[in-house]
């Protein structure tokens, strides 16, 4: 296998050291690496080396909605975004609620070979919220599922949620909840507040998220289970999770790039590219989510990459689908919101976008420290670069990025998956043996 020497990068944004990659692992760091025999040099002066990014929240849409995204196109987008591992959400068609479907997704991910694809299993059959899916079978399958979620829908029946939390303990699983009280959000279109009042769009109140998170942390505490809160979006949610952690409850929480960066003011133009669930909140919520991410209340950044075909966004607001793409902009948005504002270091970015998500997903060979002997899942980012996002230029098969036309900092220069470059000089590296 090719031996690669990466020279001059700042590891986690700190000290400069050369890194030698051999046989899919980090073989040497520092002077021994510099002196070692190698086949290829990747000059990385001025770049930051991060562990390959791990997303716990990706909608790859295959099987079922290949018009929006396929595992092939979505994982190429992921590699370009600096990811080496994504978790494919369960709301496909058929739903990922059996061992057969999760194994299909896992296998298609391996065949494509752009990132490691770990399927998320549905909590309930057909995401219907009533009967537990065969969590044990999915956990025991080749896909080794550890994260279970009905994402897109809330497991809102308290008894079903309690049973899921309890049952997943048998195989060290975690329930990742889409926190949305359905009765309080019937036909909701955007955050309920000053802007919705003026625009005449049905409101999605913060309390509908906070009420479920409050219930779920209490349930998780009661039965001693792990809970992961997806796409936390409100100031009140941050407070509840902070309180739960102080009580010793085993809860982790995720924020999305868009909830760290965009507000409901953007809805004023009625452009459905800003329609997402949970909705864009107020500037005060964005500030609270940033503070929560900085102080560790929020553990991870997950993209909630949600591609949709053009016709589902090229229409009036109420008719449009919820969701935004995010794999190719996530790191830049986190840099803009957290690093360039001085609230987080690159080591913190590695924690929230790689180390912690891998730990929550129980992925042993991802999110590892940059040390000799560890798997060579690595990302090189140029923090000094600036770029204007263009939807048409992205690798995702869909155009619904909310960042189109915006200038963002940072650019992923290279991504290494188990020692093999999937991205070099900001471009995908096609590889033999890849199967669509």
């Amino acid at each position: 296998m090719t031996t690669t020497l990466i020279t001059g990068a700042r590891l986690l944004g700190e000290d400069v050291a050369d890194v030698l990659v051999e046989d899919g692992r980090i073989a040497a760091i520092g002077a021994t690496a510099t002196a070692a025999r190698h086949d290829v040099v990747v000059p990385a002066d001025g770049l930051v080396m991060l562990p390959g990014l791990v997303d716990l929240h990706t909608h790859l849409r295959e099987p079922g909605r290949e018009d929006a995204e396929t595992i092939w196109s979505g994982t190429r987008a992921a590699a370009l975004g600096g990811f080496t591992c994504v978790h494919a959400m369960a709301n496909t068609n058929p739903v990922q609620d059996t061992a057969g479907v999760v194994e299909q997704v896992w296998r298609l991910g391996r065949d494509a070979g752009w990132v490691d694809v770990h399927p998320v299993g549905a909590v309930t059959v057909g995401l219907a919220g009533t009967q537990l899916a065969e969590l044990g079978a999915m956990a025991a399958s080749a896909a080794r599922v550890r994260i279970f979620s009905d994402d897109g829908k809330c497991v809102h029946d308290p008894v079903v949620m309690r049973r899921a939390l309890e049952y997943a303990k048998a195989f060290d699983g975690v329930i990742a909840q889409h926190s949305q009280e359905p009765g309080l959000t019937a036909s909701s279109q955007m955050h309920e507040g000053i802007v919705s009042a003026e625009l005449g769009l049905t409101g999605w109140p913060a309390v509908a998220e906070e009420a479920i998170i409050a219930r779920d942390v209490l349930l998780a505490g009661h039965v001693g289970s792990r809970l992961h809160v997806l796409h936390l979006s409100t100031a009140g949610s941050v407070d509840i999770v902070r309180w739960a952690k102080a009580r010793g409850i085993d809860v982790t929480a995720e924020a999305t790039p868009h909830h760290l960066f965009l507000t409901d003011e953007l809805v004023r133009g009625y452009d459905p590219v800003f329609k997402v669930n949970p909705p864009l909140r107020t500037a005060a919520d964005v500030e609270a989510v940033r503070a929560g991410l900085a102080d560790g209340t929020i553990d991870t950044v997950g993209t909630d990459h949600a591609p949709h075909p053009r016709e589902d966004k090229d229409c009036e607001w109420a008719a449009a689908a919820f969701g935004m793409t995010g794999l190719e902009t996530a790191l830049s948005v986190v840099q803009a919101a957290m690093v360039d504002t001085g609230r987080m270091t690159w080591a913190d970015v590695a924690r929230v976008m790689s180390f912690t998500p891998a730990a929550i997903g129980r992925v042993a060979d991802q999110g590892r420290p940059i040390e000799v002997g560890e798997p060579a899942n690595l990302t090189l980012v140029d923090p000094a670069a600036r770029r204007v996002v263009t939807a048409q230029d992205q690798a995702t098969a869909s155009l619904n990025t909310p960042f189109g036309g915006m200038e963002l900092p940072g650019r992923v220069v290279a991504t290494f998956l188990h020692g093999r470059a999937t991205v070099l000089e900001g471009r995908l590296v096609e590889h033999e043996g890849a199967r669509r």
Partner: protein, 333 residues
């Protein structure tokens, strides 16, 4: 004025221009031959995705009085009910050469999408979108208020005047009302003081940011002697599942305009309603049919206001009423 999407987009000057233009239009409607040649050769499409016979007829009458060709496109029995998108419908109308599209849509913001997209080059006039805006209704309400209440004690011509100092109570289902949203913005722009009166469940979260006072108590507001009381339609279906109020009788007791409340009002106070009325719910027959009621006149004023709006968006400029009377309308009439 390229489009008319929201009263929030109108400056005081633009709003007064529309009212003055409407007055000039209304003056022509007293003539034996009501039809003006102003928009001859122009095509106005009434694109109605929601049933609204009254508003459609009002726009149709307005366009025809200006000699425009009118195409009525209603969602019922059309390709829209077969799943055609707003985009395709708009592009079809564009291909047919629509100069203006008057759109009524159940989705808030649909007219904005139409105006912001490249689906049509035509001027877009919002004839009511979801629970967002109904700007021509607010303009006809403002026109009616001005006609009755400005220059009241001297019989002065209200041309050029706004609604400075008028006190208007808007009563009822504010939450679901595009009429209320449009009126709050427009009446404030024109200098009136608006008080919204509703049970708390029928006010939106965020209403505190609006340019209006809010009260839960109709009798207290009426005791302050408002110049106008505008009653909003309350839909009976709002009481179903997770009802907004316990019963129609409780609503009527708290917020209905009946003979007793009518008798408390100052002599000059007018009673308004955008129609269609639910007699016996938000307004009693005594109130609806009283001499103070200007409900029927609102309908007539709607035609003049819509003539003014169509004229202004299709002439592509903000002309003053003076220009109009002396110029285009007068010259052709």
């Amino acid at each position: 004025m390229r489009h008319l999407l929201s009263t929030g987009d109108l400056s005081r000057e633009q709003a007064v221009t529309i009212l003055d233009t409407a007055a000039a239009m209304a003056a022509t409607q007293a003539r034996e031959i009501k039809k003006l040649p102003t928009l001859r050769g122009r095509t106005v499409v009434n694109l109605f995705f929601e049933d609204s016979t009254r508003t459609r007829i009002s726009f149709e009458t307005a366009a025809k009085r200006l000699s425009a060709d009118v195409i009525n496109f209603s969602a019922k029995g059309s390709s829209v009910s077969k799943g055609e998108s707003l985009k395709d419908t708009a592009q079809t109308l564009q291909a047919m050469g629509a100069d203006a599209v008057v759109i009524r849509h159940h989705a808030s913001g649909a007219p904005h999408r139409l105006a912001a997209s490249r689906w049509t080059d035509g001027a877009v006039v919002n004839a009511g979108d979801g629970t967002h805006q109904h700007p021509t209704q607010a303009l006809l309400d403002a026109y009616t208020l001005r006609r009755h209440l400005i220059g009241l004690h001297g019989g002065a011509d209200p041309t050029g005047r706004d609604l400075d100092g008028l006190r208007v109570a808007i009563v009822g289902d504010v939450l679901h009302s595009r009429v209320a949203r449009s009126n709050v913005q427009l009446l404030h722009t024109l200098g009136a003081q608006v008080t919204l009166v509703a049970p708390p469940t029928l006010l939106p979260v965020g209403v505190e940011s609006w340019t209006a006072d809010v009260s839960y108590h109709l009798d207290e507001v009426l005791a302050q002697g408002p110049d106008a009381v505008m009653m909003l339609r309350v839909q009976r279906e709002r009481m179903g599942g997770g009802g907004f109020f316990p019963s129609p009788w409780e609503y009527t007791r708290g917020y209905g305009l009946d003979a007793r409340r009518l008798a408390q009002l100052p002599e000059h106070t007018i009673v308004m309603h955008p129609g269609p009325m639910n007699r016996g719910l938000e307004i009693s027959a005594d109130a609806a049919d009283s001499p103070r009621s200007v409900v029927v006149e609102q309908v007539a004023n709607g035609v003049a206001v819509r003539m003014a709006v169509l004229y202004l968006v299709l002439s592509g400029q903000d002309q003053t009423a003076g220009d109009l009377v002396a110029g285009q309308i007068g010259a052709h009439a």
